[in-house]
Protein backbone atom coordinates (compact mmCIF):
# COMPACT_ATOMS: atom_id res chain seq x y z
CA UNK A 1 0.00 0.00 0.00
CA UNK A 2 1.62 3.19 -1.10
CA UNK A 3 1.26 6.34 -3.11
CA UNK A 4 3.78 6.95 -5.84
CA UNK A 5 4.11 10.20 -7.73
CA UNK A 6 5.94 9.91 -11.00
CA UNK A 7 7.18 13.14 -12.60
CA UNK A 8 4.15 15.15 -11.53
CA UNK A 9 3.89 18.69 -12.88
CA UNK A 10 0.99 21.09 -12.65
CA UNK A 11 0.53 24.50 -14.28
CA UNK A 12 -2.24 27.05 -13.94
CA UNK A 13 -3.80 28.89 -16.91
CA UNK A 14 -1.62 27.32 -19.57
CA UNK A 15 -1.18 29.44 -22.67
CA UNK A 16 -2.09 32.77 -21.09
CA UNK A 17 0.02 35.52 -19.62
CA UNK A 18 -0.89 34.27 -16.14
CA UNK A 19 0.70 30.84 -16.66
CA UNK A 20 2.23 29.57 -13.45
CA UNK A 21 4.01 26.34 -12.66
CA UNK A 22 2.69 25.24 -9.30
CA UNK A 23 4.40 21.85 -9.28
CA UNK A 24 7.58 20.97 -11.12
CA UNK A 25 8.50 17.36 -11.74
CA UNK A 26 7.69 15.87 -8.34
CA UNK A 27 8.87 12.31 -7.70
CA UNK A 28 7.83 10.84 -4.42
CA UNK A 29 6.82 7.59 -2.76
CA UNK A 30 4.76 7.55 0.39
CA UNK A 31 4.94 4.20 2.12
CA UNK A 32 2.23 2.58 4.17
CA UNK A 33 2.06 3.73 7.78
CA UNK A 34 4.45 6.63 7.39
CA UNK A 35 4.02 9.86 9.33
CA UNK A 36 5.10 12.63 6.98
CA UNK A 37 5.47 16.35 7.48
CA UNK A 38 5.04 18.47 4.35
CA UNK A 39 6.56 21.88 4.82
CA UNK A 40 6.86 24.91 2.66
CA UNK A 41 6.41 28.63 2.54
CA UNK A 42 3.04 30.11 1.51
CA UNK A 43 2.62 29.51 -2.22
CA UNK A 44 5.25 26.78 -2.39
CA UNK A 45 2.74 24.34 -3.87
CA UNK A 46 2.06 22.15 -0.85
CA UNK A 47 -1.72 22.59 -0.98
CA UNK A 48 -1.66 21.90 -4.71
CA UNK A 49 0.38 18.76 -4.13
CA UNK A 50 -2.00 17.24 -1.58
CA UNK A 51 -5.02 17.89 -3.78
CA UNK A 52 -3.36 15.71 -6.38
CA UNK A 53 -3.10 12.83 -3.95
CA UNK A 54 -6.86 12.27 -3.83
CA UNK A 55 -7.56 13.27 -7.39
CA UNK A 56 -9.21 16.64 -6.77
CA UNK A 57 -6.66 18.18 -9.10
CA UNK A 58 -5.30 16.51 -12.18
CA UNK A 59 -1.63 16.85 -13.00
CA UNK A 60 -0.66 18.52 -16.27
CA UNK A 61 1.85 15.75 -16.81
CA UNK A 62 3.05 12.67 -14.94
CA UNK A 63 1.19 9.89 -13.20
CA UNK A 64 0.14 8.92 -9.71
CA UNK A 65 -0.16 5.34 -8.53
CA UNK A 66 -2.20 4.36 -5.52
CA UNK A 67 -1.37 0.82 -4.43
CA UNK A 68 0.17 0.27 -7.83
CA UNK A 69 -2.85 1.41 -9.83
CA UNK A 70 -2.74 4.48 -12.04
CA UNK A 71 -5.41 6.87 -10.72
CA UNK A 72 -5.62 8.63 -14.09
CA UNK A 73 -6.87 5.44 -15.73
CA UNK A 74 -10.28 6.07 -17.22
CA UNK A 75 -12.01 3.32 -15.28
CA UNK A 76 -10.36 4.21 -11.97
CA UNK A 77 -12.92 4.81 -9.24
CA UNK A 78 -12.21 8.36 -8.02
CA UNK A 79 -14.88 8.20 -5.34
CA UNK A 80 -13.23 5.13 -3.89
CA UNK A 81 -9.87 6.90 -3.94
CA UNK A 82 -11.29 9.88 -2.12
CA UNK A 83 -12.57 7.73 0.69
CA UNK A 84 -9.24 5.90 0.91
CA UNK A 85 -7.23 9.12 0.92
CA UNK A 86 -8.96 11.41 3.40
CA UNK A 87 -8.16 15.07 2.94
CA UNK A 88 -8.83 17.62 5.67
CA UNK A 89 -8.66 21.10 4.21
CA UNK A 90 -7.43 24.23 5.88
CA UNK A 91 -10.04 25.66 8.25
CA UNK A 92 -12.17 22.52 7.85
CA UNK A 93 -14.80 23.93 10.22
CA UNK A 94 -15.95 26.12 7.32
CA UNK A 95 -17.40 23.08 5.59
CA UNK A 96 -19.83 22.11 8.38
CA UNK A 97 -23.43 22.27 7.20
CA UNK A 98 -25.70 19.80 8.97
CA UNK A 99 -28.11 20.46 11.82
CA UNK A 100 -26.34 18.22 14.32
CA UNK A 101 -22.77 17.15 14.88
CA UNK A 102 -23.48 13.47 14.31
CA UNK A 103 -25.32 14.11 11.04
CA UNK A 104 -22.44 16.17 9.76
CA UNK A 105 -19.86 13.55 10.63
CA UNK A 106 -21.92 10.82 8.97
CA UNK A 107 -22.05 12.73 5.66
CA UNK A 108 -18.87 11.01 4.48
CA UNK A 109 -19.82 7.43 5.35
CA UNK A 110 -23.32 8.01 3.93
CA UNK A 111 -21.76 9.04 0.62
CA UNK A 112 -19.78 5.82 0.74
CA UNK A 113 -23.09 3.98 0.62
CA UNK A 114 -22.65 2.05 3.86
CA UNK A 115 -25.60 0.53 5.77
CA UNK A 116 -27.03 2.73 8.53
CA UNK A 117 -25.55 0.66 11.34
CA UNK A 118 -22.03 1.04 10.01
CA UNK A 119 -22.56 4.74 9.31
CA UNK A 120 -23.44 5.27 12.96
CA UNK A 121 -20.65 3.07 14.19
CA UNK A 122 -17.96 4.80 12.11
CA UNK A 123 -19.26 8.25 13.00
CA UNK A 124 -19.40 7.67 16.75
CA UNK A 125 -15.97 6.12 16.66
CA UNK A 126 -14.51 9.04 14.70
CA UNK A 127 -15.98 11.53 17.16
CA UNK A 128 -14.51 9.59 20.04
CA UNK A 129 -11.12 9.54 18.37
CA UNK A 130 -11.01 13.31 18.15
CA UNK A 131 -12.23 13.69 21.71
CA UNK A 132 -15.76 14.96 21.16
CA UNK A 133 -17.93 13.73 24.03
CA UNK A 134 -21.38 12.17 23.77
CA UNK A 135 -22.94 15.31 25.25
CA UNK A 136 -22.11 17.27 22.08
CA UNK A 137 -23.22 14.91 19.33
CA UNK A 138 -26.75 16.26 19.09
CA UNK A 139 -25.73 19.93 19.24
CA UNK A 140 -25.69 22.11 16.18
CA UNK A 141 -22.11 22.24 14.93
CA UNK A 142 -22.45 26.02 14.74
CA UNK A 143 -22.85 26.25 18.53
CA UNK A 144 -19.45 24.74 19.25
CA UNK A 145 -16.21 26.55 19.98
CA UNK A 146 -13.61 26.99 17.27
CA UNK A 147 -11.43 24.09 18.41
CA UNK A 148 -14.43 21.78 18.82
CA UNK A 149 -15.70 22.66 15.35
CA UNK A 150 -12.36 21.81 13.85
CA UNK A 151 -12.28 18.46 15.61
CA UNK A 152 -15.79 17.66 14.40
CA UNK A 153 -14.70 18.50 10.85
CA UNK A 154 -11.66 16.24 11.16
CA UNK A 155 -13.95 13.50 12.48
CA UNK A 156 -16.03 13.99 9.34
CA UNK A 157 -13.09 12.78 7.29
CA UNK A 158 -11.99 10.11 9.78
CA UNK A 159 -15.46 8.58 9.73
CA UNK A 160 -14.78 7.44 6.18
CA UNK A 161 -11.97 5.29 7.62
CA UNK A 162 -9.29 6.47 5.21
CA UNK A 163 -6.05 4.55 4.82
CA UNK A 164 -4.20 7.80 4.31
CA UNK A 165 -5.05 10.95 6.23
CA UNK A 166 -3.85 14.28 4.89
CA UNK A 167 -4.27 17.38 7.03
CA UNK A 168 -3.66 20.86 5.62
CA UNK A 169 -2.49 23.07 8.47
CA UNK A 170 -4.80 21.52 11.04
CA UNK A 171 -3.54 23.87 13.73
CA UNK A 172 -3.90 27.22 11.92
CA UNK A 173 -5.59 29.78 14.12
CA UNK A 174 -5.68 27.62 17.25
CA UNK A 175 -4.14 28.54 20.60
CA UNK A 176 -1.08 26.53 21.77
CA UNK A 177 -3.18 24.24 23.96
CA UNK A 178 -5.62 23.47 21.14
CA UNK A 179 -2.71 22.95 18.78
CA UNK A 180 -0.98 20.38 20.98
CA UNK A 181 -4.27 18.62 21.61
CA UNK A 182 -5.02 18.16 17.92
CA UNK A 183 -1.48 17.13 17.04
CA UNK A 184 -1.38 14.62 19.92
CA UNK A 185 -4.67 13.13 18.79
CA UNK A 186 -3.38 12.77 15.25
CA UNK A 187 -0.22 11.11 16.53
CA UNK A 188 -2.34 8.73 18.60
CA UNK A 189 -4.46 7.86 15.58
CA UNK A 190 -1.36 7.13 13.57
CA UNK A 191 -0.08 4.82 16.29
CA UNK A 192 -3.32 3.02 17.03
CA UNK A 193 -4.89 2.67 13.60
CA UNK A 194 -1.60 2.48 11.70
CA UNK A 195 -2.83 4.90 9.07
CA UNK A 196 -0.49 6.92 6.92
CA UNK A 197 -0.55 10.57 7.95
CA UNK A 198 0.61 13.57 5.94
CA UNK A 199 0.74 16.72 7.99
CA UNK A 200 1.03 19.98 6.06
CA UNK A 201 2.45 22.88 7.97
CA UNK A 202 4.71 25.85 7.67
CA UNK A 203 6.02 25.40 11.17
CA UNK A 204 8.95 23.04 11.74
CA UNK A 205 8.27 23.15 15.47
CA UNK A 206 4.86 21.55 14.93
CA UNK A 207 6.05 18.62 12.94
CA UNK A 208 9.54 17.96 14.36
CA UNK A 209 8.09 16.17 17.37
CA UNK A 210 5.91 13.74 15.45
CA UNK A 211 6.99 12.87 11.96
CA UNK A 212 9.27 10.17 10.52
CA UNK A 213 10.08 12.10 7.40
CA UNK A 214 9.95 15.70 6.29
CA UNK A 215 9.25 16.88 2.77
CA UNK A 216 10.31 20.44 2.07
CA UNK A 217 8.79 22.28 -0.87
CA UNK A 218 9.92 25.51 -2.45
CA UNK A 219 8.44 27.17 -5.54
CA UNK A 220 6.80 23.96 -6.70
CA UNK A 221 9.85 21.79 -6.28
CA UNK A 222 10.59 19.11 -3.74
CA UNK A 223 13.79 20.30 -2.06
CA UNK A 224 14.30 17.77 0.72
CA UNK A 225 12.80 14.43 1.61
CA UNK A 226 14.51 12.99 4.63
CA UNK A 227 14.37 12.31 8.36
CA UNK A 228 13.94 15.50 10.41
CA UNK A 229 17.48 15.73 11.75
CA UNK A 230 19.01 15.52 8.30
CA UNK A 231 16.66 18.16 6.98
CA UNK A 232 17.30 20.47 9.92
CA UNK A 233 21.04 20.12 9.43
CA UNK A 234 20.52 22.29 6.36
CA UNK A 235 19.03 25.06 8.43
CA UNK A 236 20.86 27.74 6.47
CA UNK A 237 19.22 26.58 3.23
CA UNK A 238 15.85 26.37 4.98
CA UNK A 239 16.23 29.99 6.02
CA UNK A 240 17.00 31.06 2.49
CA UNK A 241 13.64 29.65 1.34
CA UNK A 242 11.72 31.40 4.10
CA UNK A 243 11.57 28.54 6.58
CA UNK A 244 13.35 27.94 9.84
CA UNK A 245 14.59 24.92 11.74
CA UNK A 246 13.17 24.37 15.24
CA UNK A 247 14.65 26.63 17.91
CA UNK A 248 16.38 23.65 19.48
CA UNK A 249 18.55 23.32 16.38
CA UNK A 250 19.67 26.92 16.75
CA UNK A 251 20.42 26.47 20.44
CA UNK A 252 22.52 23.37 19.77
CA UNK A 253 24.43 25.02 16.94
CA UNK A 254 24.96 28.07 19.15
CA UNK A 255 26.37 25.93 21.94
CA UNK A 256 28.64 24.17 19.52
CA UNK A 257 30.01 27.49 18.31
CA UNK A 258 30.79 28.38 21.92
CA UNK A 259 33.03 25.34 22.05
CA UNK A 260 30.60 23.11 23.88
CA UNK A 261 30.77 19.68 22.29
CA UNK A 262 27.11 18.68 21.90
CA UNK A 263 25.46 16.75 19.09
CA UNK A 264 23.70 19.29 16.88
CA UNK A 265 21.31 16.66 15.51
CA UNK A 266 18.90 16.93 18.44
CA UNK A 267 15.50 17.92 17.07
CA UNK A 268 13.26 17.96 20.13
CA UNK A 269 13.62 19.57 23.53
CA UNK A 270 13.98 16.16 25.20
CA UNK A 271 16.81 15.11 22.94
CA UNK A 272 18.52 18.43 23.47
CA UNK A 273 18.23 18.11 27.21
CA UNK A 274 19.77 14.66 27.12
CA UNK A 275 22.63 15.90 24.96
CA UNK A 276 23.40 18.83 27.22
CA UNK A 277 23.25 16.66 30.34
CA UNK A 278 25.58 14.16 28.67
CA UNK A 279 28.01 16.94 27.96
CA UNK A 280 27.75 18.31 31.51
CA UNK A 281 28.33 14.83 32.87
CA UNK A 282 31.46 14.43 30.78
CA UNK A 283 32.76 17.83 31.81
CA UNK A 284 32.24 17.15 35.51
CA UNK A 285 33.91 13.75 35.38
CA UNK A 286 36.83 15.13 33.39
CA UNK A 287 37.06 18.26 35.48
Amino acid sequence: MSITLDHISYSYSIGTAYEKHALKDINLTIKDGEFIGLIGHTGSGKSTLIQHLNGLMKATSGSIYYNGKDIYDEDYDMKELRSKVGLVFQYPEHQLFETTVIKDVSFGPRNQGLPQLEIDLHSYEALKQVGIGEDLIDCSPFELSGGQKRRVAIAGVLAMRPEVLILDEPTAGLDPAGRDEILDQIAKLHKERKITVILVSHSMEDVAKYVDRILVMNKGELVYSDVPRKVFANYKVLESIGLAAPQVTYVMHGLREQGIAVDTNATTIDEAKREILKWAHREIIEG
Binding site: K79, L87, P92, Q95, F97, G108, N111, F142, M160
Partner: protein, 269 residues
Amino acid sequence: MIRDITIGQYYPKDSFIHKLDPRTKIIGTFVFIISLFLFRNKFLPYVVVIGFLGLVIGASQVPIKHIVKGLKSIIFLMVFAIVFNVFLTSGEVLWQWGILKITKEGLENAGFMALRLTLLIMGSSIMTFTTTPNHLTDGLEKIMNPLKRIKVPVHEISMMMSIALRFIPILLEETDKIMKAQMARGADFESGNLIKKAKSLVPLLVPLFVSAFRRANDLAMAMEARCYRGGEGRTKMKPLKYRKEDFISYLILVLYLVSLVVVKKVSPV
Protein backbone atom coordinates in the same frame (compact mmCIF):
# COMPACT_ATOMS: atom_id res chain seq x y z
CA MET B 1 -13.69 26.58 -13.51
CA ILE B 2 -16.23 29.14 -12.31
CA ARG B 3 -13.61 31.83 -12.43
CA ASP B 4 -13.68 32.04 -16.20
CA ILE B 5 -16.42 34.66 -16.27
CA THR B 6 -15.14 37.39 -18.55
CA ILE B 7 -18.25 39.53 -18.79
CA GLY B 8 -17.66 42.75 -16.94
CA GLN B 9 -14.16 42.04 -15.70
CA TYR B 10 -11.86 45.02 -15.65
CA TYR B 11 -9.20 44.88 -18.37
CA PRO B 12 -6.23 46.98 -17.29
CA LYS B 13 -4.85 49.31 -20.01
CA ASP B 14 -3.98 52.96 -20.19
CA SER B 15 -6.18 54.14 -23.03
CA PHE B 16 -8.23 57.26 -23.74
CA ILE B 17 -11.41 55.47 -22.66
CA HIS B 18 -9.82 54.08 -19.49
CA LYS B 19 -8.86 57.56 -18.37
CA LEU B 20 -12.31 59.08 -18.89
CA ASP B 21 -14.39 60.09 -15.91
CA PRO B 22 -16.70 57.20 -14.92
CA ARG B 23 -19.70 59.53 -15.21
CA THR B 24 -18.90 60.14 -18.85
CA LYS B 25 -18.75 56.43 -19.47
CA ILE B 26 -21.96 55.65 -17.58
CA ILE B 27 -23.93 58.37 -19.35
CA GLY B 28 -22.35 57.46 -22.66
CA THR B 29 -23.33 53.82 -22.25
CA PHE B 30 -26.83 54.81 -21.24
CA VAL B 31 -27.23 57.02 -24.29
CA PHE B 32 -25.78 54.32 -26.51
CA ILE B 33 -28.28 51.73 -25.24
CA ILE B 34 -31.21 54.10 -25.79
CA SER B 35 -29.93 54.91 -29.26
CA LEU B 36 -30.16 51.22 -30.17
CA PHE B 37 -33.90 51.28 -29.66
CA LEU B 38 -34.59 54.67 -31.23
CA PHE B 39 -35.40 53.27 -34.64
CA ARG B 40 -37.06 50.16 -35.94
CA ASN B 41 -35.73 47.81 -38.54
CA LYS B 42 -33.66 50.04 -40.73
CA PHE B 43 -30.31 49.01 -42.01
CA LEU B 44 -28.45 52.25 -42.50
CA PRO B 45 -28.57 53.65 -38.93
CA TYR B 46 -26.89 50.48 -37.71
CA VAL B 47 -23.92 51.27 -39.90
CA VAL B 48 -23.53 54.46 -37.87
CA VAL B 49 -23.97 52.55 -34.58
CA ILE B 50 -21.43 49.90 -35.51
CA GLY B 51 -19.04 52.55 -36.74
CA PHE B 52 -19.33 54.42 -33.44
CA LEU B 53 -18.88 51.27 -31.38
CA GLY B 54 -15.88 50.29 -33.48
CA LEU B 55 -14.36 53.68 -32.83
CA VAL B 56 -14.87 53.35 -29.07
CA ILE B 57 -13.51 49.79 -28.97
CA GLY B 58 -10.50 50.94 -30.95
CA ALA B 59 -9.88 53.80 -28.54
CA SER B 60 -10.26 51.51 -25.53
CA GLN B 61 -7.45 49.18 -26.69
CA VAL B 62 -9.37 46.18 -25.34
CA PRO B 63 -8.80 43.33 -27.80
CA ILE B 64 -11.95 42.57 -29.76
CA LYS B 65 -11.44 38.86 -29.05
CA HIS B 66 -11.84 39.56 -25.36
CA ILE B 67 -15.10 41.44 -25.90
CA VAL B 68 -16.57 38.75 -28.13
CA LYS B 69 -15.75 36.16 -25.47
CA GLY B 70 -18.13 37.97 -23.13
CA LEU B 71 -20.94 37.40 -25.63
CA LYS B 72 -20.87 33.68 -24.92
CA SER B 73 -22.77 34.22 -21.70
CA ILE B 74 -25.84 35.60 -23.49
CA ILE B 75 -26.10 32.96 -26.21
CA PHE B 76 -29.05 31.37 -24.45
CA LEU B 77 -30.91 34.67 -24.20
CA MET B 78 -30.11 35.40 -27.81
CA VAL B 79 -31.43 32.06 -29.09
CA PHE B 80 -34.54 32.59 -26.99
CA ALA B 81 -35.19 36.03 -28.49
CA ILE B 82 -34.53 34.84 -32.02
CA VAL B 83 -36.84 31.81 -31.75
CA PHE B 84 -39.69 33.87 -30.33
CA ASN B 85 -39.30 36.57 -32.92
CA VAL B 86 -39.07 34.16 -35.83
CA PHE B 87 -42.16 32.17 -34.94
CA LEU B 88 -44.43 34.69 -33.25
CA THR B 89 -44.38 37.66 -35.57
CA SER B 90 -47.38 37.97 -37.88
CA GLY B 91 -47.00 39.10 -41.47
CA GLU B 92 -46.16 37.71 -44.89
CA VAL B 93 -45.90 33.92 -44.46
CA LEU B 94 -42.83 32.30 -45.99
CA TRP B 95 -43.08 28.78 -44.54
CA GLN B 96 -45.73 27.02 -42.50
CA TRP B 97 -45.98 23.71 -40.64
CA GLY B 98 -49.01 23.28 -38.42
CA ILE B 99 -49.24 26.26 -36.14
CA LEU B 100 -45.58 27.07 -36.67
CA LYS B 101 -45.00 29.67 -39.31
CA ILE B 102 -42.10 31.79 -40.35
CA THR B 103 -42.81 35.24 -41.66
CA LYS B 104 -40.67 37.72 -43.51
CA GLU B 105 -41.24 40.23 -40.72
CA GLY B 106 -40.32 37.62 -38.16
CA LEU B 107 -36.98 36.90 -39.76
CA GLU B 108 -36.30 40.59 -40.02
CA ASN B 109 -37.25 41.20 -36.39
CA ALA B 110 -35.14 38.30 -35.19
CA GLY B 111 -32.13 39.46 -37.15
CA PHE B 112 -32.33 42.99 -35.85
CA MET B 113 -33.04 41.82 -32.30
CA ALA B 114 -29.92 39.66 -32.34
CA LEU B 115 -27.91 42.56 -33.72
CA ARG B 116 -29.29 44.90 -31.07
CA LEU B 117 -28.56 42.49 -28.23
CA THR B 118 -25.02 41.93 -29.47
CA LEU B 119 -24.37 45.65 -29.75
CA LEU B 120 -25.95 46.25 -26.34
CA ILE B 121 -23.75 43.71 -24.58
CA MET B 122 -20.63 44.84 -26.42
CA GLY B 123 -21.37 48.49 -25.66
CA SER B 124 -22.01 48.01 -21.98
CA SER B 125 -19.11 45.60 -21.53
CA ILE B 126 -16.81 48.30 -22.86
CA MET B 127 -17.80 50.32 -19.82
CA THR B 128 -17.03 47.55 -17.34
CA PHE B 129 -13.86 46.53 -19.17
CA THR B 130 -12.44 50.02 -18.92
CA THR B 131 -13.66 51.07 -15.48
CA THR B 132 -12.69 49.56 -12.14
CA PRO B 133 -15.69 48.63 -9.95
CA ASN B 134 -14.69 51.31 -7.46
CA HIS B 135 -14.69 53.99 -10.10
CA LEU B 136 -17.99 52.76 -11.42
CA THR B 137 -19.74 53.07 -8.06
CA ASP B 138 -18.09 56.43 -7.47
CA GLY B 139 -19.52 57.64 -10.75
CA LEU B 140 -22.96 56.22 -10.01
CA GLU B 141 -23.01 57.89 -6.63
CA LYS B 142 -22.14 61.22 -8.17
CA ILE B 143 -24.75 60.87 -10.91
CA MET B 144 -27.48 59.91 -8.44
CA ASN B 145 -26.53 62.69 -6.07
CA PRO B 146 -29.52 64.91 -6.91
CA LEU B 147 -31.80 62.09 -5.73
CA LYS B 148 -30.59 62.75 -2.19
CA ARG B 149 -33.07 65.60 -2.00
CA ILE B 150 -35.95 63.17 -2.23
CA LYS B 151 -34.39 61.08 0.55
CA VAL B 152 -32.89 58.33 -1.61
CA PRO B 153 -29.95 56.81 0.34
CA VAL B 154 -27.54 57.32 -2.54
CA HIS B 155 -24.33 56.81 -0.61
CA GLU B 156 -25.58 53.65 1.05
CA ILE B 157 -26.68 52.18 -2.27
CA SER B 158 -23.33 52.82 -3.88
CA MET B 159 -21.48 51.48 -0.84
CA MET B 160 -23.54 48.30 -0.98
CA MET B 161 -22.81 47.99 -4.68
CA SER B 162 -19.08 48.33 -4.27
CA ILE B 163 -19.02 45.84 -1.40
CA ALA B 164 -21.09 43.37 -3.41
CA LEU B 165 -18.74 43.69 -6.37
CA ARG B 166 -15.73 43.34 -4.12
CA PHE B 167 -17.06 40.11 -2.69
CA ILE B 168 -17.79 38.30 -5.95
CA PRO B 169 -14.28 36.91 -6.46
CA ILE B 170 -13.96 36.08 -2.76
CA LEU B 171 -17.19 34.11 -2.76
CA LEU B 172 -16.25 32.34 -5.97
CA GLU B 173 -13.01 31.22 -4.43
CA GLU B 174 -14.85 30.14 -1.30
CA THR B 175 -17.32 28.13 -3.38
CA ASP B 176 -14.46 26.38 -5.09
CA LYS B 177 -12.86 25.53 -1.76
CA ILE B 178 -16.01 24.23 -0.10
CA MET B 179 -16.89 22.22 -3.18
CA LYS B 180 -13.52 20.52 -3.05
CA ALA B 181 -13.79 19.92 0.69
CA GLN B 182 -17.16 18.22 0.28
CA MET B 183 -15.94 16.25 -2.73
CA ALA B 184 -13.15 14.97 -0.50
CA ARG B 185 -15.94 13.64 1.72
CA GLY B 186 -17.52 11.86 -1.22
CA ALA B 187 -20.06 14.50 -2.24
CA ASP B 188 -21.18 14.27 -5.84
CA PHE B 189 -22.32 17.48 -7.53
CA GLU B 190 -22.68 16.19 -11.06
CA SER B 191 -24.68 13.00 -11.38
CA GLY B 192 -28.33 12.29 -10.62
CA ASN B 193 -31.58 13.92 -11.68
CA LEU B 194 -32.58 17.52 -11.02
CA ILE B 195 -33.95 16.93 -7.51
CA LYS B 196 -30.91 14.93 -6.48
CA LYS B 197 -28.66 17.61 -7.92
CA ALA B 198 -30.50 20.35 -6.03
CA LYS B 199 -30.24 18.33 -2.84
CA SER B 200 -26.54 17.81 -3.35
CA LEU B 201 -26.10 21.59 -3.26
CA VAL B 202 -27.11 21.82 0.41
CA PRO B 203 -23.63 20.88 1.69
CA LEU B 204 -22.28 23.64 -0.54
CA LEU B 205 -24.82 26.40 0.05
CA VAL B 206 -25.09 26.19 3.84
CA PRO B 207 -21.37 26.71 4.49
CA LEU B 208 -21.32 29.37 1.79
CA PHE B 209 -24.10 31.34 3.47
CA VAL B 210 -22.52 30.92 6.87
CA SER B 211 -19.24 32.22 5.55
CA ALA B 212 -20.91 35.12 3.73
CA PHE B 213 -22.59 36.18 6.95
CA ARG B 214 -19.37 35.77 8.88
CA ARG B 215 -17.51 37.91 6.37
CA ALA B 216 -20.26 40.55 6.41
CA ASN B 217 -20.07 40.65 10.18
CA ASP B 218 -16.31 41.02 10.17
CA LEU B 219 -16.46 43.73 7.54
CA ALA B 220 -19.11 45.70 9.44
CA MET B 221 -16.99 45.47 12.56
CA ALA B 222 -13.87 46.60 10.71
CA MET B 223 -15.72 49.53 9.15
CA GLU B 224 -17.14 50.61 12.48
CA ALA B 225 -13.74 50.31 14.12
CA ARG B 226 -12.58 52.87 11.57
CA CYS B 227 -15.47 55.16 12.44
CA TYR B 228 -17.54 54.63 9.32
CA ARG B 229 -20.95 56.21 9.82
CA GLY B 230 -22.51 56.64 6.41
CA GLY B 231 -22.00 59.27 3.76
CA GLU B 232 -22.78 62.34 5.86
CA GLY B 233 -19.87 64.77 5.64
CA ARG B 234 -17.60 62.15 4.11
CA THR B 235 -14.93 63.49 1.78
CA LYS B 236 -13.06 61.66 -0.96
CA MET B 237 -9.34 61.27 -1.42
CA LYS B 238 -9.70 61.51 -5.18
CA PRO B 239 -12.88 63.45 -5.99
CA LEU B 240 -14.19 62.96 -9.52
CA LYS B 241 -13.42 65.84 -11.83
CA TYR B 242 -14.27 66.34 -15.49
CA ARG B 243 -11.30 66.98 -17.75
CA LYS B 244 -10.92 68.21 -21.30
CA GLU B 245 -11.19 64.67 -22.66
CA ASP B 246 -14.58 64.25 -21.04
CA PHE B 247 -15.99 67.32 -22.76
CA ILE B 248 -14.62 66.07 -26.06
CA SER B 249 -16.33 62.74 -25.45
CA TYR B 250 -19.65 64.39 -24.70
CA LEU B 251 -19.29 66.35 -27.92
CA ILE B 252 -18.65 63.16 -29.86
CA LEU B 253 -21.68 61.60 -28.20
CA VAL B 254 -23.91 64.47 -29.29
CA LEU B 255 -22.46 64.28 -32.81
CA TYR B 256 -23.22 60.55 -32.84
CA LEU B 257 -26.85 61.15 -31.83
CA VAL B 258 -27.34 63.91 -34.38
CA SER B 259 -25.85 61.87 -37.21
CA LEU B 260 -28.02 58.94 -36.19
CA VAL B 261 -31.17 61.04 -36.39
CA VAL B 262 -30.12 62.47 -39.74
CA VAL B 263 -29.33 59.04 -41.17
CA LYS B 264 -32.65 57.75 -39.91
CA LYS B 265 -34.47 60.55 -41.68
CA VAL B 266 -32.73 60.07 -45.03
CA SER B 267 -32.54 56.28 -44.90
CA PRO B 268 -34.93 54.73 -47.43
CA VAL B 269 -35.35 51.28 -45.87
